[in-house]
Structures are given as C-alpha cells and as structure tokens.
C-alpha cells in the first residue's frame, strides 16, 4: 500500500463525510464560543428541570444526544422513544487521583452495545476544549464474561463525545462494542453477561507549542506539507500520566433482545467476493444469502459464497433500511468472514418502523408479516 493508494481509497468513504466537510463552513474552532453559550443555556435549562423535579428526563438524555450527533439531523420520535425505553442507567462512579469516572448508561440490541462514561477532571482541567486531542484513557473497555464463556473476540470503537453540560472539566466517553458473530451462537448481550471496564491511568499528550513554532518558523518555514522527523515528532508530543490509578467497573445488562429474520428462503443478491486477502480487486458476483437478521444497530448476513463478501454497489451504495415514512437508514459494511457479513448502523433502526431492506443491487427484502 502506498500514499497514492491511501489517497484514492479515501474517496470511497461514506458520503456523509463528504457532506460534513462540504456543509460545515465554519469549523468547531470558530463556533466554540457560541457552542459554549448554547451549552450554558442547556445547562440552565437542565438545572431548571432538575429544580422542578424532572431529573429523570435529563438523566436519560445522554444516549439521545449522542445518537442525534451521530445522525447529523434530528432523530425520529420513534427513535427517541426507543432510546428512552431501552437506555439502562448504570450510575457507578469512582474517583482516583482527582479524576472521577462514572459509567452513566448503556444500551444494547443483543449483539451490539453502547456504554457511555462521564469523565470529570479536576476543575482546572479544560477537558471540553482539548480532551479529545490531549487526553487518553488507557485500559480495557470491553472485557465480557457470561455465565458460560469469556467473550474475547470482537471489534469496537471508543472515543470522546461532548456532554453538553456547560462544564469545561467534564466530557463523555462512548464505547461501542460488538463481539464477533459466530454462526449458531446465541446473541452475546443479555442479562447473564457481565461487562467489565478496566481503566488504568489517564494520560495526557500535549503539543510542545514552543518547539513547534521553532520548527515552523525555522527549518520548515514556508513549507505547506510539513513532514517532521521521528525525533522531532517524539519531542513535539510526549505522553505523561496525568492521573494515576485503576478504575474498575462491572455491571450486567438488564435486558436481552433478538433480531428479526427477513428471509424465509434463500435469495440471490450481488456482492463483492474476496477469496484471497491479497486480491487487489474482488469479483462482483451473485451470492446466495441464506439469512438476513436485522437488529437495532446492526445486521448479519449468512451466505454460501465461501468468500468474504461485501454487499455494496459499484458506485459506493450501501444496504439501506427503508422506513415506513420513506426515510432511509444506511447500514454499512463492517466486517466479513467466509460465510458471514456484518453490517452496522450508527443510529437506532426501530424495527417496527422498517418497511423493507434494500440491498445495493436493488433487491428488496420485505419485513416479515
């Protein structure tokens, strides 16, 4: 793989990123002040709600805010209602070395889980402005133990998200995790599965601004594509432990759910099949799919291609959940094994509101009666 390849493949990313970079004409930097103002207003409103005894309504808003940000547009009333019904408030909290980590809440659809942590730093730390860039939680966020087995394999994502509480020393941290799908295995999340979060030390990696300016105004003066040497980079960004300690949490999901099988008999659809990990181009071919299970945050396709299959169209089309009101939710390719393809949605798909699934080749998979 070369820089050229990387630059070209970047063009394949979801259209939502093209849209974001095109439509956002004012960067977060210049809107920070107004965001802060709006956060303050939000905080005042939240405080008022608390005072009139509506604390529960505010507490349950964490995941709604998160998914609204993910969506980039307001969620439907059905999605909001789904989140409110299914958000599990955890409320565990531990403080070490002046830093408090709270496991706020969680939601799962049986095979995908979201956990939201609230991080409170000492008052003189401005996490809101620089948290995502400078601070790191180190540890294991997705250690799962069920009654019968230890679920080790999986994939996920964790990162900082805004908490909109108006306080500069607090920020949320979202973990998304899905254990690897294994044909015939029960769904991984449910009342018997314990989730362990182990955080060991909070690190800070700040930019050495003085040294940076020295480089930009000296050695690299006038250059657009600055490429620092490894030695310079190490000096520019040094990691230090900002809070020492261990934060350990364990909790169990209070609900389980299962997906909906859409197929009563196998269907042939087109997909890209890869039979060799080193293949440069895959063959676009007919694939017999034997199962399509739709979940709130994901979908799983079982097929008989004996290949890793990606269900996209030549022009970057994705699988879409077409809702009864005509709106669509993209379900993107996530991973593939020889007989299974896993797809993800970054916002909830309310299953009762789905009219049908549209495959990228145009094949329609209706919801069962």
């Amino acid at each position: 793989m070369t820089g050229k390849d990387l630059l070209i493949v970047l063009g394949d990313i979801s259209h939502k990123y093209y849209n974001e970079a095109e439509m956002e004409t004012v960067a977060a930097v210049s809107t920070r002040k107004s965001i802060r103002r709006s956060m303050l207003i939000a905080a005042v409103i939240a405080l008022t709600l608390l005072l009139v005894g509506c604390a529960v309504g505010y507490a349950c808003g964490w995941l709604t805010s998160f998914f609204t940000a993910q969506s980039g547009e307001p969620l439907s009333s059905e999605q909001v209602s789904y989140i409110e019904r299914n958000e599990q408030i955890i409320g565990q909290s531990q403080t070490r070395d002046g830093w408090t980590v709270q496991v706020k809440s969680a939601i799962n659809d049986g095979r995908t889980a979201y956990i939201i942590l609230g991080i409170t730093a000492p008052e003189d730390v401005d996490l809101e402005s620089s948290g995502a860039d400078e601070y790191y939680l180190s540890g294991a966020f997705a250690d799962l133990v069920s009654n019968s087995r230890h679920i080790e394999e999986g994939s996920g994502h964790a990162g900082w998200v805004r908490d909109d509480d108006g306080l500069s020393n607090t920020l949320d941290y979202m973990i998304r995790w899905e254990p690897m799908e294994k044909k015939g295995m029960p769904y991984p999340f449910g009342p018997d599965v314990q989730w362990n979060i182990h955080i060991e030390n909070i690190l800070c990696q700040r930019e050495n601004t003085e040294y940076l300016l020295e480089l930009l105004n000296g050695k690299y003066k006038g250059q657009d594509n600055v490429m620092f040497t490894e030695e310079e980079t190490d000096k520019l960004y040094q990691k230090e432990i900002i809070a020492e300690g261990v934060w350990n949490f364990a909790f169990t999901f209070d609900q389980s759910s299962s997906g909906i099988e859409l197929l009563s008999s196998p269907v042939t659809v087109k997909g890209y099949a890869s039979r060799n990990a080193n293949e440069v181009s895959d063959s676009y071919e007919d694939v017999l799919i034997t199962s399509f299970t739709l979940n709130t945050f994901s979908a799983v396709i079982h097929h008989e291609a004996d290949a890793c299959v990606t269900f996209t169209a030549p022009e970057n089309g994705e699988v879409a959940a077409v809702m009864r009101d005509g709106s669509e939710i993209e379900i993107s390719h996530w991973s593939a094994s020889r007989d299974t393809t896993e797809l993800n949605s970054n916002i909830p798909i309310v299953l009762s509101e789905v009219d049908h699934i549209r495959m990228p080749d145009g094949t329609v998979l209706p919801m069962p009666e």
Binding site: M1, T2, G3, K4, L6, L7, I8, V9, L10, G11, D12, I13, S14, H15, K16, Y17, Y18, N19, E20, A21, E22, E24, T25, V26, A27, A28, V29, S30, A132, D133, H157, G159, E207, L212, L213, L216, D224, N225, V226, M227, T233, Y237, S274, A277, N278, E279, V280, D282, T310, T312, E315, G317, E328, E330, S332, H333, W334, S335, N346, G362
Partner: protein, 184 residues
C-alpha cells in the same frame, strides 16, 4: 432548484436533471476535478463524465446527500484520469498529498496489499475517532484536495494551526493503521 427536485428529474429520466445539476454544482465539481488534474480540459471532461455516471446510477439510487454523491463520483473519475508522472513533473498539489499520506503508512505494511473495502472501513472508523475540527480539516485536505491556505481561510484559522492539525492527524492515522494491522 432543491436537491430533491433534481433527483425527481433524474428518476423521471428528464434530461433537465443534468442541466439543473450543472447549474447547482457544476462549478464546485469543476474546481474539485481541476485541483486533482491540474488541467482545465480534463477537468471539464471529468465533470461531464460525472453527470453521465449520475444519469446511469439514478435511478435505482436516490442518494441522501446529492452533492456528496456527485463529489465522490467526480473525485474517483478524476483520479482515474490522472497522469501521475505528469503530475509529478509539474509538482502538483496532489503529489504533495500522496507524500503526506505516505507518512501515515506503517513501514511494515508498505508492500502489503489490502482489501479496498476493509481499508475503507478502517478509514471510516478512524474518522469517527477524530475530534470534529480535526476531521473537517483532514477531509478538506485529503478528500477535497484543498490547499493549506484555502482551509485556513475557510475555517478562519491560521495556516500554522492547519499544518499542525494535519500533522497530528496524520500521526494518529499512522498509529491507527499500525494498530489495525495487528488484527487483520
């Protein structure tokens, strides 16, 4: 004309769809293609090809973000048309971008071929992990091929801030690709 109406025209197979698309987005698409190709005639041809591809794709497709769809098609067509040797000779911006991207690739994977869609998944996951501001700057540079000065002007920030953000993001991408390489 609103995007939804232009899309309706495509679905009705009304050729006015292409004219309306050109009126609404032609200049932006031309600018994008010209940044990649550095040749006005080739850029015009790429934009025409973009309309042809769009005409052949809609229907059955109905993209959620119409301009994003057009830009993705136009970018890919332009890169397909690019003569890299000529670009290197005239020190085009796109050559600088490839050098910058080169710094994101872990050494041990320089020669490794990767499944294109797997790489796309990794890149999307990486973009999700970025703060919004860094993501926007990164996308403007490597998706829309903007110069440092253009990005600085667009977001009302200094050029050195753009450079450092980009450097930091490239470093993160390097680490991200390295970590992903372990489990692939």
């Amino acid at each position: 004309v609103e995007d939804a109406k232009i899309l309706d025209l495509f679905w009705e197979r009304n050729e006015q769809a292409v004219k309306e698309t050109d009126t609404a987005y032609g200049r932006r698409l031309y600018a994008l293609s010209n940044k990649i190709l550095g040749n006005p005639e080739d850029a015009e041809e790429s934009v025409s090809d973009t309309y042809m591809e769009t005409w052949n794709t809609i229907p059955p497709k109905r993209p959620k973000y119409f301009y994003a769809f057009l830009a993705a098609v136009c970018r890919n067509l332009s890169f397909n048309k690019l003569d890299w040797r000529m670009a290197a000779k005239r020190s085009a911006e796109v050559v600088a971008l490839t050098q910058e991207m080169e710094s994101c690739i872990p050494d041990r994977r320089q020669d490794a071929e990767m499944d294109r869609r797997e790489l796309r998944r990794i890149l999307e996951s990486f973009l999700e992990s970025l703060p919004r501001e860094s993501r926007l700057i990164f996308l403007r540079r490597y998706l829309y091929v903007d110069t440092i000065a253009e990005i600085a002007a667009r977001y009302h920030i200094s050029e050195s801030k753009v450079k450092t953000r980009l450097h930091r993001t490239r470093k993160k991408l390097h680490t991200y690709l390295e970590e992903e390489g372990i489990c692939i």
